[in-house]
């Protein structure tokens, strides 16, 4: 059957179908051929593109004004007469089915495609250039000057691992027919995690791929199906994500798609600016891996950041001081949250003074967490005095331990590896803020103050489960030993006290720190290390609980 396709809007589709078939890329996947006159043969159908609308009209016999009315209203007439309304399929329906099948065949065959690229150029030769970039960034964003750069060994550099998902979305603004648009989202892998790249980053990436020369293309590789599956999981998650990240990452590579979305938005109520997506189809996934030159940035002897070029030629900056895998600057894009909580994307131009960012924006960026949390003077958070002043060492905010004191009214920050025990006490359980610990004599250890009580007998802290009122020193002693001790140390007590202490039993408990005398119901503590001002030993003191 000869099927004529008409209309300038279909010309591109027809030419594309011809080109795709001629390329041989769908050979074996779909039976079709381009004939010598340019028509496309598929099964029994031959599709012919007719340029002129008049020619089309003359040759199209299916749609016509009949003696009963217009053929396209036949369904209405049949329905009004109570007859069956199924109508003979017209040619354009077959054309639609054909091109859908053709595109599907192509996408199925080339669903996964990979692009590999290693660094180009001489790493040492680029050192000077990166030195300037790094210095500019460090000075502008972190007030660090000067810095030095050292190349990183290739084996210590992780690949940038990016997945581009080509999507076909059926979108609409709630009313009117949906419109198909094509877009791409790029997802970057950091270890096991996937992160959506913003539309701005996507554009930069697309731009760099455009500039890629053929030599940089890779050979076929075996698919890690678990990884692809994880990637699809991540994508599915994003489609259900209420934070709308996918819309911010969706990049329309062509004006026609961008304009279609814009038109939809223009006709949408300002109150919501919501678009609906009824279906999203992944047409293909491309994987881009890139191994760049990288340089570590040193502040004196301290290695603080790593800088490298991204695949699209921009600068990427990682912090080495913390575990954060995501870069601070990714391909010249810096993402920060402004004071209103709104996400902002800024393009950094490392070759320009002030990174090409205006002063007020720069202030906002520096104040935001993306900068203010890296390589900061510890003293700006930790308010503990060290040798009469605040600590001047620099650490990432992530490395500071944050502690709530007094039911969150007060917060303390400290470094886990702080060398000052008056600030941080470290034991086998880890680092603790000393101010919140209490020395428990019965254990000879520092214990969280919250877990201790004062013993009602010796008046010293002990770890309590809440019920015990006396420490083990006072409650679990050897009676005979206590009698003996009394005899041994009784001279310490004044004579009068011993004479008039009644008839009760007289005992003395001893540990490294104190002597506890029990004279009947009265208790006296003698601190072994306590001295008078003039060097004499202090008298035993009666306890308040006596």
């Amino acid at each position: 059957m000869r099927i004529e396709i008409n209309g300038a809007d279909y010309k591109e589709a027809f030419s594309s179908a011809q080109e795709l078939i001629k390329s041989g890329l769908v050979r074996g996947a779909l039976e079709c051929a381009v004939l010598s006159d340019g028509s496309i043969k598929h099964g029994d159908d031959v599709f012919v593109y007719v340029e002129q609308i008049q020619e089309y009209a003359a040759s199209q016999s299916r749609m016509t004004m009949t003696s009963e009315g217009a053929s396209w209203f036949e369904g209405f007439r049949r329905r009004a007469r109570g007859e069956a309304t199924e109508l003979e399929e017209d040619g354009t329906q077959k054309w639609k089915q054909f091109i859908t099948a053709l595109a599907d065949a192509y996408h199925k065959k080339y669903f996964l495609s990979a692009f590999r690229k290693t660094n180009d150029g001489d790493g040492k030769a680029q050192l000077d250039e990166y030195q300037n970039f790094a210095q500019n960034i460090m000075t502008t964003l972190f007030d660090i000057t000067p810095v030095t750069l050292a190349p990183v060994s290739e084996r210590d550099i992780d690949d940038e691992d990016i997945y581009g998902l080509s999507l076909c979305l059926q979108i609409g603004n709630g009313m009117g027919e949906l419109i198909p648009v094509l877009g791409t989202v790029y997802i970057k892998r950091y270890g096991k995690d996937f992160t959506l790249m913003t539309g701005f980053e996507a554009e930069a990436l697309e731009h760099s791929l455009e500039l890629t020369d053929d030599d940089a293309l890779s050979e076929e590789e075996v698919v890690d199906s678990a990884l692809v599956s994880a990637l699809l999981d991540a994508f599915e998650h994003y489609t259900k994500d209420e934070d709308n990240h996918l819309a911010e990452s969706l990049y329309f590579t062509e004006t026609v798609d961008h304009d279609a979305v814009k038109t939809c938005l223009d006709a949408t109520a300002i109150a919501n600016m919501n678009l609906q997506c009824r279906s999203v189809q992944i047409l293909g996934i491309s994987n881009i891996k890139w191994k760049p030159h990288a340089y570590d940035v040193y502040d004196g002897p301290e290695r603080i950041f790593r800088i490298h070029s991204s695949i699209s030629g921009g600068i990427t900056l990682f912090c080495l001081g913390c575990d954060t895998k995501e870069p601070i600057i990714d391909n010249n894009i810096l993402v920060y949250i402004d004071k209103n909580g709104k996400r902002r994307d800024i393009t950094v131009r490392p070759e320009e003074a002030g990174l090409g960012i205006d002063a007020s924006t720069l202030d906002a960026i520096r104040a935001s967490d993306v900068i203010a949390s890296h390589y900061i003077p510890v003293g700006s958070y930790c308010k503990q005095k060290v040798r009469g002043g605040l600590c001047t060492k620099k650490r990432c905010r992530q490395n500071l331990i944050e502690l709530a004191i007094n039911n969150d009214d007060e917060k303390a920050f400290f470094c886990a590896d702080c060398p000052n025990p008056e600030i941080v006490y470290t034991d086998k359980t880890g680092a603790h803020f000393t101010r919140l610990l209490t020395y428990v004599p019965t254990e000879g250890a520092m214990v969280s103050t919250a877990e201790t009580k004062l013993c009602t007998s010796c008046e010293r802290p002990f770890r309590s489960d809440g019920k015990a009122t006396m420490c083990s020193f006072c409650s679990k002693f050897n009676h005979d030993e206590a009698v003996e001790n009394y005899k041994k140390y009784r001279e310490i007590l004044p004579v009068t006290l011993r004479l008039f202490s009644g008839k009760g039993e007289k005992l003395c408990l001893e540990d490294d720190e104190i002597l506890l005398f029990r004279l009947g119901d009265n208790k006296y503590i003698f601190h072994k290390f306590s001295l008078r001002e003039r060097g004499y030993i202090q008298n035993p003191k009666k306890t308040t609980k006596s």
């Binding site: 809007d9 008049q54 003696s67 009963e68 209203f73 209405f76 009313m175 698919v223 997506c277 999203v280």
Partner: protein, 979 residues
Amino acid sequence: MPAYKPADKGLLDIIGQYRLNFESDAFARQNIAALPDTWRAYTAQIRSMNKTVKALDRYDDFATMKIPPRLYRENTEGPIAYGIHYDHAVHGDEDVVLNHQHSAAHTFLQKLRGFGLLADVVGSGKTYEACTVLSELAARGVISTMLLIVPRHVYDEWVRVLEIRFGLGKDILYQYPHFFDKDGNPLSDVKQPNFEELVERCPDGFARPKRPIIVATEDFLLWQAAMNECLYDVIVMDEAHHMCEEDENGYSPTLYQLSKLTAIKKKADKPYCLLLTATPHSGDLDKMFRLWYFIRCQGGSPEEFAKEPKRRASYHEEHKYYTETICRGATSVRDFINRMLLRFFLGELYVGDFSKFYESEYGRSFDGFAELAEGEKIVAIEKYLEQCDDRLYEKASQFVADAYHNDVLRSIMIRNPKSTAGAMGRIKTKTPHNIFFFPAKKTTGNVTLPSIFAKEQLTLHIDNLADPEGKGIVTVDGKPTYLADYLENRGNRKFTHGQLLFYNEVWKALGLTDESFTVTFDSHTTLRRRGALTGFYSEQFRAMSDSVKLNFYPMTKMDAESIFKAKLDYTVRLLRQHKNERVLIFFDYDKKPPRGEASVAERVEDALRKMPEFASRILENTVKKLDDEFRDKEGAILVAKQAGITEGRNLQSCAIVINFEVTPDPVAMEQRIGRVFRLGQKSNVTIYSLANMCDLEGYVLMYYTRIGLIESNSGDATIIAGAINNNMVSVRCEKCGRVKLYSRENYEVAKRNPEELMCRALDMCRLENPEGTMMTEINVYDFRCTECGNTFVRSTEGYECLSMDRGIMCNSGRGGDRMVYCNKACAMLHCQQFMPGGEYEHCGALALYKKGITDPIELRERCNRCENKCPPRCRYGEGPEAIQSCSTCRNSTCQPVPPMKLVFNEKWEAPCPICVAEGRRRGGKLVPVVARTFSSYVQALWNFHFDENAFCDNLRAEAKKVATIRDILDNDKMREGER
């Protein structure tokens, strides 16, 4: 690799601007076939092919039109000729569906995705555009039911176009019963159709009509409720601007009902809905919001069109966005234009030049400009606009027009620029031919031409200015010739201008002066319209387009009867001139004849019927298929006796229109011309307008001519001209009663200079203060009760009685007096005592009154001479005291309000007499209703007694403003990529 720098192209501008909500099953992972085992190398070929295949992936069934225009051509093979008949005279080189219509339908499908507003200008063929869309939807098989909601006056046309022209099939449309006749009167005993027979329940749970349905807009709200539960795959609503009409609570029942239908369509995923209108707004942008909201919010939710409190926050947010961002804070088109002009001239580029102009013109520092009232700023901008060079004027016009057409209108609608949509204008022309009847002391005479009109001074003899050619016959050197030809031969460079000035000389020679335009209303009141000739008419004539033909008809007697006879005489002459052509004659239908008398239209028809040469040509107004009869009868004359004929008719078989009277409503005037100057017209159209220069119609015709209403499709300017004029301020001197009117802007300027508001017209005005009396704001408009909703209407004669249908209250309109009261004679007329059988049935004064003698002095004299022994309280008298006793008298038959007086307070408010008479516990008050239309505004101005030159000044200013608006809005260009 070079470092990436973001491109300036706009592909990124929407990122972060919207939310994308995925439906729960939007991503069907199971649809991804088994993954390949290997990553294929991303070669240059794949990269290239990925781009190529996008054209296939992006296949959009709405991207192209399936039915070429020529497939709509008429097929004459069957018993019924389905399709559109091709006529070269109409279609030219295009096909039966014209390019702009096809293009509009295409854009509607491709860009608006089948839901939106088609708003091309009058006569561009929106019905065809809509039917093309319906055909395309049907060709795609996406619709099986349809609902057409169309006004009654175009109902039959819709049936004919869709069933026959677009081939739906004869009698396929189900025509829902009418509950009103064509004049809007309710019909009795109309039964709702059997729902079960009309509708079927489908397996998907939706009820669908078995046949496509057409229902008149008027009947739509009255159809059975069950019809609102049906699914209509596509809905078409013609004249969609009527949807915006609200009651006083802001409730819009049509929108409410339509949104209920769209809610069902949403559920069924049948989104198609076409709204059609040529006038999406009536100059009032605030009102257009309803339409905007319905479209932008995709039909909205029914409750959003219910009463105000139920509306959601999103409604208010949208309204805020619409008002502040789209309309730039303006509530009317005029206001919008003013704001945009201000924005343009105060913008960075032009503020420098403007400030210099301002400082030199006003002698004030520009620093204080920001503090001025908006009106004052506008006045300054208008002045600047007048004197700035053409290039700047054009730039400003383009700036404003672009914002108006593209930002405001095209934000929600498909609207071709006038130049492309007005296909008629490219094929045929229309020529206005204005015939002015003016008062003259003589109709012929000698006149000496100043040398500017010719090389030397000439003396001519005027023979007949009112010749049919409109050129004026004169005698030069004893030889009769056409004045126009004579002047042309003399080589006058500015012929039209010169000619008009010359006419000025002619007028003088014939004894016409400004005083000739003085109108006497009654024995006490004389109205002078100063500057009517030298100010108003001369200016308009000078600014008039060359293509307007003029003819002048001097008359020595200007009473109504003489004017009627002169006009009839002229009409007869025209009918003879067009003896084989169809002629349409229109009148001013708002002018009501005195009770029992024939209307002007009836008198004209009677007169023509009596002439054998026309009797057979005259067509009865009452024939059922008037359009067809008119088309089939060669040389037919249709004397349109009802206003209904002026709307919705297809009378393009006629090319001659005579406006026997000129309506003061510009929209109505455009409608009349639109009956004949529309698609299908095969000849050039001539529009004759006959106007008395001393009457309102003369001034109004001049105004129409100035704004190009008749001559071209002035489009939006007509709407603006006919729309709200609530920015006028009237002031009055309390001493002498002199009234002056200002535009709001000019009034703001005048307030800064109180000198200008001081009246010193008469000695009495200077009695208390030698400087004069300060004129204060007054109200010239109608009133409405806040509770019962009754209106207190101001007619041409004055305020109409609240009880009887034709009574006019005393003192009404006289300089805006705050007290009006019933006429004693009128009260006597409705008194049982004076009625037949009553004790005083033979009252002499009343007998005179019944004869039409209303002069109080005559009536009082007759009363004094009367032999009836009626008590003093029943005797004829003047003033409010005279009806005091009638207001409580049991003999009065006035219902519901007895004879009364009404006193308005400072705010022009008064207790509602109807509420008082009906004993409402919570009585309302009458509050002013500002004139909403040019028609009501201009009539209010016209009826003002004590007018000196306010009328002419205002109308002249108005004409100038609207002409400027027309110039500005004519710069309609679609932005690149819009179509």
